[in-house]
């Protein structure tokens, strides 16, 4: 009954989506009365999707083995948290979560955007309904999460142990809120193009959505990177895996949008450009969903390969993106340009930001899809990895980081470049760091340049605060400063850990000592141990560098359902980096394979990511607070 209730809710929501579209885009006399009902429908639709998701989590919690999805992906002996979170650890459940967030985004748009022009809001909600309908159709026709299994299974097949981690609880929902949050920007852009009201008030209405989605994407990517880093046991924090790229592409587009929307909000300029970016951002989310969910790419995230599903999502993708860009082509010509600006101005710097981000996005996009394209055309199989992305996108990213030092110091409209003199000190510091790195550390030029630019940006990020009263500086300015500083921190971590990492791969007997960087690691023993649904061999390592001793316990785990072996790394975090240890296989003669890394400053990568997100939160919070105060004063 629980599963049927969930399924019924989905069908009902799909029917409401049709009604929503008809009301919003129907004949003029329908549209004239549509505003209120369309809003109510969006809210009910959101509630129905939440209900369906809750029902799925419930059947997973109860391990109801008469539901096909549960039988295939869960197990009665799994820890409670992973039973519930396991609801989205598979294709169908993960698509339902996607659709739930899409429904919620529509409901939130209906509830919170009251100050927006009514006609634009109605059209935007219609667009949101059209998006939802397509994905409801995909769920109901090609990926039903509530399908029954008759007779019920005796026991479930279990969840991939790599996913049995707290990361599963937070990473997919966070990332999805980011992905799908961008749908609101897409729908608002469609709505505004339909009504022709592209102006600063639209930008102000769109900005919190973009900012919120961008914060969640930033957090999701940062958390996902750390999850892959410790769970896979490969010691890397970014693999240029197609699925990682699928989350990076919307982030790049959203970052560009975030900056251009400020131009539209503050200066009423870059109208068509911003609408274009809003459409590209969510299009990238859909491309990402297609890449991950259709199973066309080689990746640990790709579940069963199912051509029917791939074709379905591809058709949805082609329809939505095609329709949106056709609308853009027809309507953008009518948008008048906003106020002009000169070549040395804040606007021009932000156009530069957008230009670089767009080029980087294009490079990632082409690199990610190239293998698909080649296989379709010539039948050759190939993969594109770090060597391509680092060499082609890396220098542009560094160039962008230099621009981040400059842009915030320029005035809107026109600037004499007077404040740029403040950059002399940070530039000197950057050059000094670069020179030291060139002389003392072996490594790639890209990483050394990254370190120098990180040093320059770390100081420059604070320059916009000069001459301001710190207590009276708006929170959104603080947000910008913190986020830009976060980029410097993350960049420093990436560059430093790339150049300074020390790695030891060896086979050792218990009692032997291994030196890795400044650490002396003593291999004590290997003993068996067990958890709720796994058994393991656990090594005990005693690590020291001068001072006290730390004990690390990396494991080689064996899960019974499904039968899988995994490696659980053990990591010791200190201020200046991480000691990362992995237990490998037994070699002959009583030795064990050990892989040890000393990764100086690697933690800065995720700290930087967190700072970037915090900057976004400060900006979002500051704007919300000011809006609320203004409202109250009236």
């Amino acid at each position: 009954m629980i599963a049927e209730a969930g399924l019924a809710a989905l069908w009902l929501a799909a029917a409401l989506a049709i009604l929503q579209i008809v009301l919003a885009f129907g004949p003029a006399q329908v549209r004239s009365v549509a505003a209120a009902p369309v809003r109510s429908i969006a809210i009910v639709e959101g509630a129905l999707t939440v209900f369906a998701m809750a029902m799925l989590m419930w059947v997973f919690e109860r391990t109801d083995l008469s539901v096909l999805l549960v039988a295939e992906n869960s197990h009665s002996a799994k820890p409670w948290l992973y039973k519930v979170a396991g609801a989205w650890g598979n294709h169908e459940g993960s698509m339902l979560l996607w659709v739930t967030i899409l429904g919620l985004a529509g409901a939130a748009l209906a509830i919170f955007s009251r100050r927006l022009d009514t006609k634009t809001l109605t059209a935007a909600l219609g667009a949101q309904g059209a998006l939802a309908l397509g994905f409801f159709g995909f769920l109901l026709l090609a990926s039903n999460p509530f399908a029954r299994l008759n007779p019920p299974a005796f026991e479930g097949r279990g969840l991939n142990p790599l996913l049995q981690d707290p990361g599963l609880v937070f990473h997919p929902p966070t990332l999805y809120v980011g992905y799908v949050g961008l749908s609101v920007a897409f729908s608002l852009a469609v709505g505004a193009l339909v009504t022709g009201k592209v102006d600063s008030s639209l930008a102000k209405a769109m900005r919190p959505w973009v900012l919120g989605a961008w914060i969640m994407l930033t957090l999701g990517i940062t958390a996902g990177s750390y999850w892959a880093y410790y769970e896979l046991g490969w010691g890397g924090w970014w693999f240029w895996d197609p699925v990682e790229n699928a989350s990076l592409m919307p982030w790049l587009a959203a970052t560009a949008l975030l900056h251009s929307i400020n131009v539209l909000a503050s200066r009423d300029s870059l109208r068509a450009w911003t609408m274009m970016l809003a459409m590209i951002a969510f299009s990238m989310s859909m491309v990402g969903t297609f890449l991950v969910r259709s199973g066309v790419l080689t990746s640990v995230h790709a579940f069963a390969v199912d051509p029917e599903r791939g074709t379905f999502i591809l058709a949805l993708l082609a329809f939505y993106i095609g329709a949106a860009f056709t609308l853009f082509a027809v309507r953008s010509g009518r948008l008048s340009e906003g106020p002009k600006f000169e070549l040395v101005s804040r606007e021009a710097a932000l156009v530069g930001n957008n230009l670089l981000l767009t080029v980087i996005l294009g490079i990632v996009f082409i690199g990610t899809l190239y293998p698909l394209f080649i296989e379709a055309v010539t039948g050759d199989k190939l993969s594109v990895g770090a060597p391509y992305f680092n060499a082609v996108a890396g220098p542009l990213a560094l160039l962008l980081a230099v621009l981040v030092c400059i842009g915030p110091l320029l005035n809107w409209k026109r600037d004499s470049g007077e404040k740029l003199k403040r950059l002399i000190v940070p530039a000197l510091v950057g050059v000094t760091v670069l020179s030291i790195a060139l002389v003392t550390i072996p490594g790639s030029l890209l990483a050394k340049a990254g370190l120098g630019i990180a040093a320059m940006l770390a100081i420059s990020a604070f320059l916009p605060l000069i001459g301001r009263k710190l207590m009276r500086t708006p929170l959104s300015t603080w947000g910008m400063v913190v986020a830009h500083f976060g980029i410097a921190v993350a960049l420093a971590g990436m560059a430093a850990s790339t150049m300074l990492t020390k790695e030891v791969l060896t086979a050792a007997r218990p009692g032997e000592q291994v030196q890795v960087g400044p650490w002396l690691v003593e291999f004590e023993s290997v003993t068996p141990t067990a958890g709720p649904n796994w058994t393991a061999l656990q090594a005990e390592l005693r690590a020291s560098r001068g001072g006290g001793v730390t004990v690390l316990k990396p494991q080689a785990r064996y899960y019974t359902s499904p039968p899988t072996e995994t490696t659980e790394s053990a990591i010791e975090t200190v201020l200046s980096g991480q000691l990362y240890t992995v237990l490998g296989k037994p070699a002959e003669d009583g030795r064990w394979q050990l892989r040890l890394w000393w990764k100086p400053w690697v933690t800065l990568i995720w700290l930087g990511g967190a700072l970037i997100a915090l900057g976004g939160m400060l900006a979002l919070g500051g704007r919300a607070w000011r809006g609320w105060r203004r409202e109250r004063e009236r």
Partner: protein
């Protein structure tokens, strides 16, 4: 240099076009020698892969071919596909599902003496996940075996 106000829209459009073109050109330039192609053991035995290029080799780990070297962390094995086989050397911790008579993909380079030096090895990940190349490989391998019988 100041953009004339009435030309601003034109300038923005030019910038957008330049961005797209630049991305395409840069990507094409980068992909020319940085994409790593996938080969089967038969193709490598036939001399189709260039020495020293980053490539990927996919096939079945031949039965009885895994050989551990005295350092405890290097292995040698033969990767085959029924018709050809390539000797592979790998220094590192093999993935959990790497075993004889099962599918694997090795990433690395072909050395001048015909040995494939792997930097990384991917194996079938769990019961349901399998790299698509490997899926096809295994199916073809099975089909070949059936025909032989």
């Amino acid at each position: 240099m100041i953009a004339k106000p009435k030309h601003q829209r034109l300038v923005l459009i030019v910038i957008a076009v330049v961005a797209v073109l630049a991305a395409v050109l840069l990507a094409m330039w980068g992909l020319r020698d940085r994409a790593s192609y996938f080969y089967t053991p038969t193709e490598i035995a036939a001399g189709k892969a260039a020495v020293g290029q980053p490539i990927r080799l996919g096939g079945m780990v031949e039965k009885g071919s895994i050989q551990r070297l005295p350092d405890g962390v290097t292995i040698r094995f033969r990767m085959g596909d029924g018709t050809g086989a390539v000797p592979v050397v790998f220094r590192g911790i093999t993935p959990d599902l790497f075993r004889e008579d099962s599918g694997a993909v090795a990433e690395g380079r072909l050395s001048a003496d015909g040995t494939f030096v792997a930097d990384n090895i991917l194996a079938k990940h769990d019961e349901r996940y399998m790299p698509p190349e490997l899926g096809n490989q295994a199916a073809e391998h099975k089909a070949a075996k059936t025909v032989e019988r």
